[in-house]
Point group: C2
Chain length 486, copies 2
Amino acid sequence: MKLYETLAADIASQIAQGVIREGEKIPSVRQTSQHHNLSVSTVIRAFLLLESQGVIESRPQSGYFVRRKPAVQACAGDAAAAPPCAVDLARGATLDASQFVLTTLRSINQGSVPLGSPYPDPASFPWTRLNQYANSMARRAGQLGMTADLPPGNPELIRQIARRHLENGLAVDAGEIIVTTGATEALNLCLQAVAPPGSAIAVETPTYYALLQAIERMRMRVVEIDTDPVHGINLEALERAIVEQGVAACMVMPNFQNPLGFQMSDERKRAMVDLLARHAVPVIENDVYHELYYGDVHPTALKNYDTRGLVLHCNSFSKTLSPANRIGWALPGRYRAQVEKLKFLNTLNTPALPQLAIAEYLKNDGYDYHLRKLRKAYAQNASIMAAAVRRFFPGGTQVTTPMGGYLLWVSLPRGVQALELYARAQERGISVGAGNIFATDDAYQHCIRLNYSYPWSAEVEAAVRTLGLLAGELLANCAPRQKAHL
Amino acid sequence: MKLYETLAADIASQIAQGVIREGEKIPSVRQTSQHHNLSVSTVIRAFLLLESQGVIESRPQSGYFVRRKPAVQACAGDAAAAPPCAVDLARGATLDASQFVLTTLRSINQGSVPLGSPYPDPASFPWTRLNQYANSMARRAGQLGMTADLPPGNPELIRQIARRHLENGLAVDAGEIIVTTGATEALNLCLQAVAPPGSAIAVETPTYYALLQAIERMRMRVVEIDTDPVHGINLEALERAIVEQGVAACMVMPNFQNPLGFQMSDERKRAMVDLLARHAVPVIENDVYHELYYGDVHPTALKNYDTRGLVLHCNSFSKTLSPANRIGWALPGRYRAQVEKLKFLNTLNTPALPQLAIAEYLKNDGYDYHLRKLRKAYAQNASIMAAAVRRFFPGGTQVTTPMGGYLLWVSLPRGVQALELYARAQERGISVGAGNIFATDDAYQHCIRLNYSYPWSAEVEAAVRTLGLLAGELLANCAPRQKAHL
């Protein structure tokens, strides 16, 4: 049993004995760390484990509390004879990544400076117009019933998506499009369509955590491929993995990758599609930031170079027209029939009103104007945020140069634990994305991801400065210990 | 190769050779049947196979057409070296059930008399008020962003669901509720939470086809348990299956089961929960018709008798407030943490606006009045429809006596093929649910399911009469052949 597991068991036992009761606050990370003489990192891992077991719950800026329980008991906390849970999505032995991501997301809307958010600033969405369209469609759609929105989705929305792709230089057959509940559903369905459980799936590293979780959920195996923060995935390494490890499919993000922000060149995109075609390996392309480019022209997708139907393109309106609508889509190539069936089985159809509202928005003018504003603002913020990090963070810190999107990847000097920085920042009302969730191992435990979609302000600048100071403190604390171990 | 597979290959080859070209209509079921001297049933199976391969597509009341294809090719139709599709949801060797269900559903909204629909009459929903609430919430919710609706879901909607359960006699902890994209998502997530691939899952027979498809999709094994059309699942048979076949979980519908319409007694519900608890087997309860009872009181759920957190209750507003909203929920008992994680991985969150609109609708008065109207209408229609079937269908036909919901199960004399009846009825603009999709084998190939949620009218009555006449013809045709085989 690891240290953090022992600590978690101790705390659970205290709760079971009534030492700490339902609804009561448990001692803070810092108190527990001092009391047990354990590192903050160990305590945080113990707390996250207890949270994923349903024993405690976090309340942002308040700490952790013993969860109130009904007659029902959490799976992991129940010692009596009971069937095991089929799903345990804990990554490795150190962090329940999906629980941690959910905890991070929940902390965002509670008054903290949301540097850890994966979502764009909600104020950036054209709410007024979208709501006008939702209103007018709600009146008209009353008697539509259900069947008009059956998979593949609302026909008018599908037409608008095809038109938009064409304007962006990708001629797609509207008959290939399948509307989904956000890109998340599209990615899950495409993955299940292309590979059976047990398959090896290649991803960039670092990569968007939801891909890692989707692969684990499908009981497949993650193969992380070396990825350059400027040029993208290493194609030689990818080919080796295909040949040597029998990779069955890839999941990548060639444009404005989350978290690195690079844009693969057209040559490298074409080379990647050719390479995969030679080996008959399908690739799931996540292109949700495609409209948020900083260059002069819309980027191509892997799909542009696909002649064999092996590229499954996943996309959504979540980054430009609000994630709350949950409208995404897939262009699944030769896997279309399978993905459509899986969509039908997974959620039947996609809610009607958001589909209709977005279709109506796209039909009318304004999307391009809206996007031009976003691109300009995000490109500016990217430079300002990177400059602030360089100014406030300890020497040796590296930042990416995103070519689109709104996410900055910050690599701190090794020894700084992002989880500790996360916890200390939380105490000060600042959220950050800890690098730990972007890989299956500890490769990025010294990295953080920052969101720069919010207007630059004194408050945001102060938050970045605070983060830099905290990082400096952590570095100072850990440096001697690190050296002692040498 | 079976007859229908040979026929499908012949037709595919004609299309490949350009004998029939893209967008062109292929010869009708009847023409093909006569030309090849094959039964209508064989031809239909060949067409359904080709449809699931993406080679042809059906256009209701027009027939089958060669599908237009982009550069992209359908998986099954591609002979070149290409990775296999991971998912092939064809049931047995005779029918791609999920494709057939989708085809049936698509045919509903196209002017046919929708006796095959699983959905309630769209005119039965309180559209005007729901839309008013959607409108007012759309204006207010503008700046909400995304995080308020993260799993477990919108807090106000969760409060309203908990309140409604309490009014219906089930005290639930609001903290247990997880909002989902319809009950479909809830059922899928609960199934994945309780059992790993390869597990044996017990279901009633006949059962709601989506359960069979969910089990297949998760690579689990269906174990069909004898089910009485009045009393429900046979508990002795269920216990035997648990002991002898190692059943890992159950998926059942104790109230107004789809398709049989029975309501299990309180005693049998309690006995079932006790039985499962003794064997520590979790049960996923699908209770989507719970508000549509014909008796004096709201029925109990298995969840009412659960003391060990082994009942995963799935529900939705799709039957009472429109499926187009896609708002369902789960009460996953001890599996709550797992189901919440899976929800997060599957679709992130549930769309905000439908959640807000339904929460607002529930907060204000009118739901009970709306439900009283529905219950009265459905109870009346149940009697009228059953009487019409008895009057118009051939002797030996049996009908159920539903105790809630809006679905009637009709068992025709053996020898009548429901798929043939389906095809002939389609030609006359009438949709029916073919019994074949409610089991993994041919046990119900002589049964059909009829929807009686639509107001009784001369048109509906004429449709039932036509069905009865067609059934009589099929019986007359098949009877001699059946005898010849004896």
